[in-house]
C-alpha cells in the first residue's frame, strides 16, 4: 500500500476521460430512449386495450426478471442478426440499455400517470380534447413533474449500470480503467480511482435529488 502511484493515474487521464465521455453519452441517450419507450409502455399498460396492456405488462415483467448482463448479451446477438449487418458495439449496447431501462421507466411513469387526478382527464374529455391531446397537455406534463426525483435517481442507477458494458469490452470509464490497470500492473490505483470518479458523480447526483425533493415538498 505504501507505493501508491499517482503518476499512473495522471498519465492515463486523457484515456480515462474518453471513457467517461462514453459512459456519460451512453447514460444520456439511454435515459432519453428509455424514457420515451417507457412512457409508451406505461400508456399501453393503462390504455384499457387488453392485448396492448397485456403485451406491455409481459414485456416489463420479463425484462425486470432478468439481469442486465444477460440483456446486453441478448442484444449483442440479436441486433446484428435482425439488421443483417453489424452496427458496432456502441449502438448494440445503447439499444440494450434503452430496452432494459424502458421497463423500469415505464413502472415509474405508470405511477406518475396514476398520480394525476382522474377528474382532470374527465375535464379534458368534457372540453373536447382527444386521447393524445389529454396525454400531451394534461397528464404527461404533470406525471413527469411529479416523478422527476425518481427519474433522476433511476438515471444515477443507469449511469452505474453503464459500467457493465465491460462484459462486451466497450471502452467506457470502467473498461478504460481496467485496461490501464492490467497493462501498467496498477490494479489498486486504477480501480480505486474509478470508484472515486463514480462516487463523486453519483453522490453529487443524489444530493441534487434530495434538493429537488425538498423543493417540491414545499
Amino acid at each position: 500500500m505504501g507505493d501508491f502511484d499517482f503518476s499512473v493515474i495522471i498519465d492515463s487521464l486523457p484515456f480515462l476521460w474518453d471513457g467517461l465521455q462514453l459512459s456519460l453519452l451512453l447514460t444520456f441517450l439511454a435515459i432519453i430512449g428509455g424514457l420515451v419507450l417507457g412512457t409508451l409502455l406505461a400508456l399501453a399498460r393503462l390504455s384499457g386495450i387488453a392485448p396492448l396492456a397485456l403485451f406491455a405488462a409481459g414485456y416489463v415483467n420479463l425484462i425486470r426478471a432478468v439481469p442486465l448482463i444477460l440483456v446486453i448479451f441478448w442484444f449483442y446477438f440479436l441486433v446484428p442478426l435482425a439488421l443483417g449487418r453489424p452496427i458496432g458495439g456502441f449502438y448494440s449496447a445503447l439499444i440494450a440499455f434503452v430496452m432494459f431501462e424502458a421497463a423500469y421507466y415505464s413502472e415509474i411513469m405508470r405511477a406518475g400517470i396514476q398520480s394525476v387526478a382522474k377528474g382532470q382527464v374527465h375535464a379534458g374529455k368534457a372540453t373536447g380534447l382527444g386521447y393524445w391531446q389529454i396525454q400531451r397537455f394534461i397528464v404527461l406534463p404533470q406525471a413527469f413533474r411529479n416523478m422527476i426525483p425518481i427519474l433522476v435517481t433511476q438515471g444515477i442507477i443507469l449511469f452505474q449500470d453503464t459500467s457493465l458494458v465491460f462484459v462486451v469490452s466497450l471502452r467506457d470509464l470502467m473498461t478504460a480503467s481496467s485496461i490501464v490497470a492490467r497493462t501498467e500492473g496498477r490494479l489498486v490505483e486504477m480501480y480505486l480511482f474509478a470508484a472515486l470518479v463514480y462516487f463523486v458523480i453519483c453522490f453529487a447526483g443524489s444530493l441534487f435529488v434530495r434538493r429537488l425533493q425538498t423543493r417540491m415538498a414545499t
Binding site: R64, A65, P67, L70, F77, Y191, Y198
Partner: protein, 239 residues
C-alpha cells in the same frame, strides 16, 4: 434472418450440465450474499436511526459509499485491489490459499453492496413506526435497547417485507456480475454454451427462462412470508 435452430443442443448432457451448475452457483451466491445483506443491512439501518450522532454518521457514510459506486467496480476492488492493500501475509493467503476465491469474493461484494440497500429499507421501516409509540415506550421507562427490541424492530421488520421482495429479486439478478471475476454462474454458462455451439438464441433463452422461474419462486416465497407477517389493520402508510 438466417439462423439454424437447434433446441436439442440444450439437452445434450454436457451443456445441460453447464446450465444446472450455473444455476447452482447463481442460487448459492445470491442466498449467501442475501444472508450477509440482511445481517449487515439491519445493523447499519438500525444504526442510522440511533440517537448517537457518531454511530448514525458512520452508518450513513456506509450507505452512501456502497450505494454510489457501481457493483462491478466494488467487485473488482474486492477481487483485485484488496489483496494488494491488506498486510502481505493476508494478501498472499487471499490470492493463493483462500478456498473458492471467486465465490467468496462475489458473495462478500454482493452482500455488502446489497446491505446498503437493505439498510435503507430497514431505516425507512423504523421511521414509519409512529413517533408516539417510541415516546410511549420511553415514558414507560424502557431503555433505548428495549425500545428497539420490543417496539420498533418487531413492527418495522413486518412492515418492510413487501419492499424487501424487490431487493431479494435484485440479489439474484446482480449475482450475474460474478461472471466478471470468472465465476461460471448461470449467465456465464449460457454465454459459454453460445460460444461453443453458436446456438446463442437457445442458450440465452434457457438462461432467461431460468431467471424468470427464479423470480417467480422468489415472489411466491416472499408473498407467503408477507401473508404471514402482515400486521392486521396496519397499512403502514400512516406516519
Amino acid at each position: 434472418m438466417n439462423y439454424n435452430w437447434n433446441w436439442s443442443v440444450l439437452f445434450e448432457p454436457e451443456y445441460f450440465g453447464w446450465l444446472i451448475s450455473g444455476l447452482g452457483w447463481t442460487i448459492s451466491v445470491a442466498l449467501c450474499a442475501w444472508v450477509i445483506a440482511l445481517v449487515v443491512g439491519s445493523l447499519i439501518g438500525v444504526g442510522r436511526t440511533l440517537p448517537n450522532k457518531f454511530l448514525s454518521k458512520i452508518c450513513t457514510a456506509y450507505v452512501e459509499l456502497f450505494r454510489n459506486i457501481p457493483l462491478l467496480v466494488q467487485m473488482f476492488i474486492w477481487y483485485f485491489a484488496v489483496p494488494e492493500m491488506v498486510p502481505e501475509d493476508a494478501g498472499r493467503w487471499m490470492k493463493r490459499e483462500m478456498p473458492q476465491p471467486e465465490f467468496v469474493t462475489a458473495v462478500v461484494a454482493l452482500g455488502l453492496y446489497t446491505a446498503s440497500r437493505v439498510a435503507e429499507q430497514v431505516r425507512a421501516g423504523i421511521e414509519t413506526v409512529p413517533q408516539g409509540l417510541r415516546s410511549a415506550a420511553i415514558s414507560q421507562g424502557m431503555s433505548i435497547a428495549q425500545v428497539y427490541r420490543y417496539i420498533l424492530l418487531p413492527i418495522s421488520f413486518r412492515l418492510i417485507v413487501p419492499p424487501m421482495t424487490s431487493e431479494f429479486l435484485t440479489v439474484f439478478k446482480n449475482s450475474s456480475l460474478a461472471l466478471t471475476i470468472g465465476l461460471l454462474e448461470l449467465t456465464a454458462q449460457s454465454q459459454q454454451i453460445a460460444e461453443y455451439t453458436f446456438q446463442s438464441f437457445e442458450a440465452y433463452t434457457a438462461a432467461t427462462v431460468i431467471y424468470v422461474l427464479i423470480a417467480l419462486c422468489a415472489t411466491v416465497i416472499m408473498s407467503l412470508l408477507e401473508r404471514q407477517t402482515r400486521i392486521p389493520g396496519y397499512s403502514g402508510k400512516e406516519s
